[in-house]
Amino acid sequence: MSTLAAALDSARARAKRHPTGALTDALVLTARLLRQVLRVPEQIVFTIVQPVLFVLLFRFVLGGAIDVGAVDYASFLMPAVFVQTVALGSALTCSGVAEDLHRGIVDRFRTLPMSHSALLVARTLADTVRNAFTLLVLALVGIAIGFRPHGSWPAWALAALLLLFVGYVFSWIGVLIALLVRSVEAAQSAGMTWVFPLIFLSSAFVPTRTMPGWLQAFSAHQPLTAIIDAVRALLLGLPAGSATSRALAWCAGILLAVVPPAVVRYRHRSS
């Protein structure tokens, strides 16, 4: 019976809450996801190929026909592609969460004395690392096709941080969608569909002044325009106006609107 007594003692110790327990859980699970990315490199290759094709399409096929004023089109385009990439990154978050939910391993996690939201936090953290890598490669591609950021180093750093934060916030939207739909397939398409209308009805690829009035009004008051304007101003050394603070406000608002329901929904699904 001494084995049982020891097992009971250690079980009681494991049941206690540790101040850093949730953080450790999240980091252990982040390491798991980053290992997966390294082991299945195809995924990250396609994550990069797609925006690169997009850049080439807009720069060489459509860009010539778009008049963006004083800035050259490559420099106008790249900030928007960065934002689009982190926004579409949330679709990968969405399918990743959905796949986890439909695997037996989630049941195992749910029977461990770990922090429940750690699984979701880990997914968003790992996707932020992936976004950082994708953005770096894209920036190099951009420079190769004539992207000339004229901003200062601190402004670039700020733009990079803003992009990663936007990516983090949007990945939580992906998490929530994955928790609301019932299948992996639904998650894959639902995670992506909301991005395209928002990105095209923004200042991403064309100046908004060319749109009809009602569309201009929508475009001026949606998050992606604020975010793209802020990133563009920071990278190109243009006056940002209120764009940066509006972008941060949108991000904070989205985070507050999305994280609590996602965590609650995950707990509900576990019971």
Binding site: M1, A7, R103, P113, R182, R269
Partner: protein, 334 residues
């Protein structure tokens, strides 16, 4: 230490129209192996999922290691290990990485998780494949790694949901040996199974469940007594001996039923009642005296079907799979 390792009273769970578990009671002590025996759809998996905090019961209470599964899920989780029917592994990680990760998430230190993972890989005959991705493992290896995962934190209460379903006989025997070893350590083990033989070999007590409720509960011997008549089947060398064999067996009071003369196409097999001791040697002796040559003898053990036939009056036929909704509940029901 709580008196019972597992105690459930009046557990109920409904999925839509289907009442999967209705008023189920269970008790298991420390150092005991409890087998929950029942056909597909009897509510075994639903019960395990409620006891392991994966499903919230609609009604009733359950305590594991003295903690309430609804009010104290965290304490319950610190005390349990679960191996479900689906293999729960990350296929892109190696066997060792899976174990270390789950150890860390069970709040073991980095060093303790690595050491325990090494021990388990050794014990489960996976040391050679420890640093290969789980994706490359055979079915039996995955099952073993899955079992090892549920032991990573040395839990005092272990749940095994149909641990041998789909395993080849050799792997099945391996799981049986493991279960016996664990029971000797004083931990409590609940396993579900569809096989009476498995419950018979491993369990101290067996709870037979049907339609979501316990219909019989006792030791294997107690249950078998309820099942009653066992029988032997003897195969004769010569079909022509059949009438003589039937006659001498009837005189000895050993005949199971009025024998049906065999067709030419079937081997001559005669049924012998074996509910009294020494039935087999007696039957062979009387046939020997009558110069009837017996070429084969088969002892027919009571099967799950026999248990059900006796306990419910119905055979354990294929019912609609009620364990199915468990999995759906994971996605849907709020």
């Amino acid at each position: 230490m709580s008196e019972h390792a597992i105690r459930a009273e009046g557990l109920c769970k409904q999925f839509g129209e289907v009442q999967a578990v209705r008023g189920l009671d269970l008790r298991a002590g420390w150092g005991a192996v409890l087998a929950v025996l029942g056909p597909n759809g009897a509510g075994k998996t639903t019960t395990v999922r409620m006891l392991t905090t994966l499903l919230r019961p609609d009604a009733g209470t359950a305590e594991v290691a003295g903690y309430d599964v609804v009010r104290e899920p965290r304490q319950v989780r610190a005390h349990i290990g679960l191996t479900g029917q689906d293999v729960a592994l990350d296929e892109n990680l190696t066997g060792r990485e899976n174990l270390v990760m789950l150890g860390r998430l069970s709040r073991l230190s980095r060093v303790a998780a690595a050491r325990r993972a090494g021990e388990l890989l050794e014990a489960f005959d996976l040391a050679g494949a420890a640093d290969r991705r789980a994706k490359t493992y055979s079915g039996g290896m995955r099952r073993r790694l899955d079992l090892a995962s549920s032991l990573i934190a040395s839990p005092p209460v272990l749940f095994l949901d149909e641990p041998t379903t789909g395993l080849d006989p050799r792997s099945r025997r391996g799981v049986w040996d493991l279960v016996k070893g664990l029971a000797q350590d004083g931990i409590c083990l609940l396993l579900t199974t569809q096989y009476l033989e498995e419950a018979d070999r491993l369990a101290d007590r067996i709870a037979v469940i049907d339609h979501g409720t316990v219909i019989a509960d006792g030791t294997a011997d107690e249950l078998k007594q309820q099942v009653g008549v066992r029988r032997l089947e003897l195969r004769l060398a010569e079909p022509a001996d059949f009438p003589r064999a039937a006659e001498v067996l009837r005189d000895a009071g050993l005949l199971a039923e009025v024998p049906k003369p065999p067709d030419a196409s079937e081997p001559p097999v005669i049924g012998v009642s074996a509910d009294r001791p020494r039935a087999l040697p007696e039957a062979v002796r009387v046939l020997e005296d009558a110069e009837v040559l017996v070429v084969d003898a088969t002892v027919l053990r009571p099967s799950l079907d026999d248990v059900f036939l006796t306990l419910t009056g119905n055979p354990a036929d294929q019912r609609p799979d009620m364990d199915g909704p468990d999995r759906d509940s994971r996605e849907g029901t709020r």
